[in-house]
């Protein structure tokens, strides 16, 4: 177990180093010149050259990377070219909003997904089953941008139940959480349905039934825990899904998280922010996967770590 954890940790570190190099290379290859962006359209060639020197953009690639990596090891993500603030400050100020949104999305996808999957499994083959599976299919395939705008229009503008975007109260959280959670809910509904159908076929369920236990007891005491556990173990992997989802959802709902920060930075080629957000989300995904793998054997004893 300990050697497994050590190996996985080492792997994770290597993955993160790899990601930092690849991202840096990709951004370095961009034909846009950050010094020119900072200097603006009225600057003289002299001003631009000056800024390039101050930022170290005139150094060869490997020196630029080493400079960045050195800062990184000291916890310094650099300074945004255009926002004129430390990248770590910007990310720290926005991370709580993103975490809150993810918590909301996890709640939505679990409640919605598990309930839909459970009902579909119990009513297998019926119109209800078909309807729910169609809905989950739409949830999985519809672009989040479209879902978000539709939710805003229906629930905020027409019905007036929720505020039109923004951040602050519980009611602000509902629609973006739903939008971000719907994709996962679709997956969970499908997984829960097949997992439940599997479990219901098992011998111990038949035994429980033949003992004369009530249908509800069989379902909630024997079937559900066994069907739910493998599904729950997937949450860690969802983090990757969320990281791409928040870029869209936060922009639509005006949610002040790191997804919105990344989106603005990408549009304006603010390389230090793009690097910073990429690294933070890569960390989150790597940790999420690691945790998911490590807790799997506790949830399902049939899984062994090797």
């Amino acid at each position: 177990m300990i050697s497994y954890v050590a190996r996985r940790l080492l792997q994770s570190v290597l993955i993160l180093v790899g990601i930092s190099v690849v991202t840096f290379v990709l951004l370095y290859l961009l034909p846009a010149d950050p010094a020119r962006q900072i200097a603006g359209r009225s600057a003289t060639a002299e001003t631009v050259a000056n800024i390039r020197t101050q930022l170290g953009l005139d150094l060869p690639f490997h020196e630029q990377y080493l400079r960045y990596a050195k800062g990184l090891l000291q916890g310094d993500l650099g300074r945004s070219y255009l926002q004129k603030t430390e990248v770590s400050t910007l990310i720290a100020s926005r991370l709580p909003a993103s975490l809150l949104l993810m918590a909301g999305a996890i709640t939505c996808e679990l409640v919605l997904g598990l309930a839909m999957g459970l009902i579909a499994a119990l009513k297998r083959g019926s119109a209800v089953d078909n309807g729910l599976m169609l809905a989950s299919f739409v949830g999985v395939s519809a672009p989040q941008f479209v879902i978000g705008i539709m939710m805003l229009y229906v629930f905020s503008v027409v019905l007036g139940w929720f505020p039109i975007g923004g951040y602050g109260t519980f009611s602000h959280l509902v629609l973006p959480s739903l939008t971000l959670g719907i994709l996962g809910a679709g997956w969970y509904a499908r997984m829960m349905r097949s997992s439940m159908i599997d479990v219901l076929r098992q011998d111990y369920i038949r035994t429980a039934r033949s003992k004369g236990l009530k249908g509800r007891t069989v379902l909630f005491r024997h079937a559900l825990p066994n069907a739910v556990l493998p599904v729950i173990a997937m949450i860690g992997i969802d983090i990757g899904l969320f990281m791409s989802g928040i870029v869209v959802v936060e922009s639509v709902f005006g949610w002040p998280g790191i997804g919105q920060l990344a989106w603005q930075a990408i549009q304006r080629v603010d390389i230090p922010i793009i690097m910073g957000v990429t690294l933070v989300s890569a960390c989150a995904i790597v940790i999420g996967n690691l945790v998911a793998d490590l807790i799997a054997p506790f949830i399902d004893p049939r899984i062994k770590l090797r």
Partner: protein, 541 residues
């Protein structure tokens, strides 16, 4: 220039009389408004801020020696109580207004003016506007790093500052009205260092109350403001990170007062044709031209006949229809609201046969293949497609390259890439209302360098000399002569046809019903998008 000034004043006077409340003195101060923007506010440092959203915010937090009459492009004195210009046009002496206080309570003096100009031209500040001050004596030593103070700026006494120039510069008073010249207090800049932009201290009508990164900024009224009666509001709340479509929905719902990024193209007709909203929309001109550049250093655009043929091939009316009439067709580089615009010039006609004939004369009877670079956000790719179809009609096959803004700009600045660029979304909006501002970086030799903004790489030494000569005419009595000189320069550019000017964008600002003020301040040519100091709240009247 003179004629333009008069018409501007007249328009403002008219707007004032049409306003629901007759005089400024009758308007009660108070109330607040909410303004939304999509992008976060990067900085409120006047030496650095150069974005759509922070430009006007900075104007409300800080003041410069000069400003413009609200709603017009007419220069007026601001922190300067008075000024004199020497006969040779090289020495400007400003007398400062007495009793002007910074938000920290200290009185502003001539030392602050000098400090601010030294700071903006210091390469360490990385100001995108440093180049505007190039005519001040000692600028080269500053930008070269061999001096730490501008030799040409002298503090005569606490109320007087003298600025010497190396050459007469007719645009200098405009430069003194630019955000980059705004006065900052040394002690506050030094206290916050690189974070001054997040802790701005100025002399302006508003002061920064609170700033939650990525969410909102609150401006509070500066109760000590020297210009009594301003600002008219007690508070402005800026909410950032809101998509224009969502901002519009909130505006329609009465939750916000101004959508700072304007009406999104997709919703434009719907809102404009709805009587409930159309009365809330103010339309105004903008110092903007959208143009198609042709790289004069690349074949076949090195041939003037080919460039003229392109000018004649494009159906500008159709392009204006494509963007729902949010612009007027253009035939010259300057927009119609700019002094020196030539009203009598008819431009190249839309004439497909004539264009084909020119191409044949140039030896391209069968046309040729080329590339058209365009910024990849709506409506620019659609406009590029229209241009592509028009060019195809005369045999030119243009492949569209739709890229991110920074990439288009980078390719445009190379002498052997991006043979054609459609400027939409990156186009020139004047920094100040003067014809010279449309020349240097985008049509002059100085901009025709790697990484420059002269994407046609058009360099005409004779015109460069005439531009310098025109800007040396500083005597206000000879303003007409200067305007005539600039008009002739732009007309000669059109003969060479490095661009095909396509349209001048109009501005449409939608405001909530509870905001008051003359229409002109909602489409102010300088305080973009609106003049925050002048807006008042009807619900406190």
């Amino acid at each position: 220039m003179k004629k333009f000034l008069l018409s501007g004043v007249a328009a403002f006077a008219l707007a004032m009389t049409l306003a629901p409340v007759a005089g400024a003195q009758e308007i009660k101060q108070g109330g607040s408004m909410i303004v939304t923007y999509k992008d976060d506010v990067s900085t409120l440092d006047p030496a650095i801020g150069y974005d759509w959203q922070n430009w006007s915010m900075i104007k409300s937090l800080f003041d410069g020696l000069m400003d413009y009459e609200p709603g017009t492009a007419t220069l007026t004195k601001d922190l300067a109580e008075d000024y004199t210009i020497s006969d040779d046009g090289k020495v400007y002496t400003f007398t400062l207004r007495k009793g002007v206080k910074f938000h920290n309570g200290r009185e502003m003096t001539a030392d602050d003016v000098k400090y601010s100009l030294d700071r903006v031209t210091d390469p360490k500040t990385q100001s995108p506007g440093a180049g505007f001050f190039a005519s001040i004596k000692g600028y080269d030593a500053m930008s070269g790093g061999s001096a730490t103070t501008l030799e040409g700026v002298t503090v005569v006494d606490p109320q007087t500052v003298k600025i010497e120039l190396t050459r007469p510069d007719a645009t200098f008073l405009h430069v003194m009205a630019l955000n980059f010249s705004f006065v900052v207090p040394k002690e506050a800049v030094e206290e916050h260092g690189a974070d001054f932009g997040k802790h701005p201290v100025g002399t302006g009508a508003f002061k920064l109350g609170e700033w939650t990164l990525g969410q909102k900024l609150v401006f509070e009224r500066n109760t000590d403001y020297w210009n009594a009666g301003l600002p008219k509001l007690d508070q402005i709340i800026f909410e950032v990170g809101q998509e224009p479509v969502v901002a519009l929905l909130r505006l329609q719902n009465g939750e916000v007062d101004i959508a700072g990024d304007g009406i999104p193209p997709a919703k434009f007709l719907e809102v404009k044709d709805d009587p409930a909203y159309s009365k809330l929309i103010v339309e105004g001109g903008q110092l903007h031209t959208g143009y198609l550049t042709m790289k004069t250093t690349m074949k076949p655009f090195d041939d003037v006949k080919v460039r003229q043929a392109v000018n004649m091939a494009i159906n500008k009316e159709r392009i204006v229809r494509i963007i729902n009439g949010r612009a007027v067709p253009a035939n010259q580089p300057l927009p119609p609201t700019m002094p020196a615009y030539d009203k009598t010039y008819e431009g190249y006609p839309y004439d497909v046969e004539g264009a084909k004939k020119l191409l044949t004369d140039a030896g391209y009877a069968d046309g040729f293949e080329t590339e058209l670079y365009v910024y990849n956000t709506d409506p620019n790719p659609r406009i590029a497609q229209a241009i592509q179809q028009d060019l195809a009609a005369i045999g030119i096959k243009a492949e569209i390259k739709a890229l991110a803004q920074a990439n288009v700009i980078a390719a445009g600045g190379e002498p052997d890439q991006a043979p054609m660029v459609w400027s939409g979304g990156m186009a020139w909006i004047a920094d100040f209302p003067d014809p010279s501002n449309f020349y240097g970086p985008i049509l002059g030799c100085a901009g025709a360098v790697k990484g420059g903004w002269n994407w046609a790489y058009y360099c005409n030494k004779d015109l460069d000399e005439r531009a310098v000569a025109a800007d040396s005419i500083v005597d206000p009595a000879k303003a007409g002569e200067r305007e005539e000189a600039w008009r002739a320069i732009y007309m000669d550019i059109m003969k060479d046809a490095p661009w095909a000017p396509i349209f001048n964008e109009q501005r449409f600002t939608m405001r909530s019903e509870r905001l008051g003020g003359p229409d002109a301040i909602f489409v102010d040519p300088v305080h973009i998008p609106v003049h925050y100091d002048q807006v008042y709240a009807k619900d406190v009247q």
